[in-house]
Amino acid sequence: MTFKGEIEKYDWDTVEAQILGATRTDVLAALKKTGKRTLRDFQALISPAAEPFLEEMAQLSSRLTKERFGNTIQMYIPMYLSNECQNICTYCGFSLDVKIPRKTLSDDEIIAEIKVIKRLGYDHILLVTGEANKTVGMSYFKNALRLIRPHFSHIAMEVQPLDEHEYRELAEEGVNTILVYQETYNKENYKEFHPKGKKSNYLYRLESHDRIGRAGIHKMGLGALLGLNDWRTDSFFCAAHLDYLQKVYWKSKYSISFPRMRPCAGGLNLKSPISDKQLVQLICAYRIFNQEVELSMSTRESQTFRNNIIKLGITSISADSKTDPGGYAGDVKSLEQFSIDDNRSTADFVEVIKQQGYDPVFKDWDSSLQE
């Protein structure tokens, strides 16, 4: 049994129609409920009918988040190891057909990046790569992790879907968290957006989290690429995925990210852009639906948005980020995956968090806690 069996119980168009057909009564029922909310409640909360209740949703989301996570926000920083990629993703700046200089960090370059990042004060790191199995495959990862592990308490990886035994090997090298975004849960559209490369295999990607779960990874991240397809329907499937995973792999923690499509070197063509208001609605809906899930925010978003989202349900956030390999130690700007909207320094952003009454937490894991 994998998520394939679960997702096949649904029909995309029916789900979309259910969300669009949710009523004010459905929304109020979801908001007023005292126990656990269901996936039908989630549909109501992300529906157009919930838009007039955004303030109520925000208040509830803020309260539920505080109860669970306290007045804290976890800080992390991404490190891009490589932008080599054998996939064609029609929306991505690292896509094979995008003519940008390709770079994979050498040992010396990784060490240089670590030095700069440690000076900024980070202890939780997110490693990001493209998908180029020959040059940036398991042996590259293992070598990189041996250089990186001694310097960080918590290592997350956003890496191409791998086999179960490979996830186990990454865990042995100290990886705590694996992030895989499905991009879109719509099987037909998925093929249009991913015409070439290993990534064109929808099912292999869809079942990634099952393999991650079986490998005993501590935390896994999921998400849909917002804007690629109807964001509401994709988010519903992502919530259903989360619900399924939590029941089956009950020892894992979960994190949801909100990659909203932004301009990048590949050009862009958005089917269903999500507005700031709708993104807030979505974040609050996830929190009201699931009090325990971590909600994560990158620097793709604007300063104003990030300043205000801290209180609304987000539990971990990056700052001061570079999305090009070698970007911290070097000064190259042409290789980045997406453009950063919030360029504030870590120190400045920490002040913003404190002013909102939250404690920025740089260490909330210890490598000694992993067997």
Partner: protein, 253 residues
């Protein structure tokens, strides 16, 4: 006065260091609570550094540290973490927390029992976080834990003493101190636990997340004192309805 292992405590309110909006706020709230035992998550402190912000802010003359193993999923990981905590925080006291379920953070009774036995043998003062399971409490006592810490309700939920009937049995049967841990969301919950005869309570979320943590810490201090005083004074029994005016057995007189 409460005694656990080799230590005596004036205060029966134990507290935690998580979820506060700043270290300064934490220090002020802990001071107002008069607590003498404070739990610290190993994962939150930088054991390699002598300047860790949480550890350096806690006055050692005022607070004893109770490191906890939050984050581990197995007995083996817990034992390793406890040894690391002993080294880093210079105490052989350990709050044994093994919750492989990160959703409700409910404790694993099997792994906890295995780890408790091993840690007790290694000379730790073990305070295990466990379900309100009376049999498990006796088993833990038998392997040498210094206290038991049954839950009132799932951690962080503030739902109060949902396990009250089982806590009563545990308190009745236990030969080691019973510390009600987790789920205590209001001073009235803490007072109730103390009235029932709990030896202490551990409160974190309800203080840290309130709008005024300092005032809430003081409210809990007073509630714990009041509850304990009531327990020692012996509560008058509660009756469901008034006593019958015409006794059923008077014909025997």
């Amino acid at each position: 006065m409460l005694e656990i292992a080799d230590r005596k405590f004036d205060s029966r309110l134990f507290t935690g260091t998580g979820k506060f909006s700043s270290v300064d706020m934490m220090v002020d709230a802990l001071a107002a609570s008069d607590s003498q035992l404070v739990t610290v998550a190993l994962k939150r402190v930088d054991v390699a550094s002598s300047t860790d912000e949480i550890l350096t802010s806690l006055d050692p003359n005022r607070f004893d540290l109770l490191p906890n193993t939050s984050g581990v999923r197995t007995a083996k990981e817990a034992v390793f973490a406890a040894e690391l905590a002993r080294e880093a925080m210079q105490t052989n006291w350990i709050k044994l927390e093994i919750h492989p379920d990160p959703k409700y953070l409910l404790p694993d009774p099997i792994e906890t029992l295995i780890a408790a036995e091993e840690l007790a043998k290694k000379g730790f003062v073990v305070l295990p976080y466990i379900h309100a399971d009376p049999v498990l409490c006796k088993r833990l006592e038998e392997v040498g834990t210094a206290a038991v810490m049954p839950i009132g309700s799932p951690i962080g939920t503030n739902k109060g003493l949902k396990t009250e009937d089982f806590l009563e049995i545990i308190i009745e049967q236990s030969s080691v101190p019973v510390v009600v841990d987790a789920g205590i969301g209001a001073p009235s919950h803490a007072a109730r636990a103390m009235e029932m005869g709990a030896d202490a309570v551990l409160v974190n979320t309800a203080i840290a997340v309130s709008d005024d943590p300092v005032a809430m810490a003081r409210a809990f201090k007073l509630a714990v004192e009041a509850g304990r005083m009531a327990f020692e004074a012996k509560l008058a029994g509660v009756r469901e309805r008034a006593s019958a005016s015409s006794p059923l057995t008077s014909f025997l007189d």
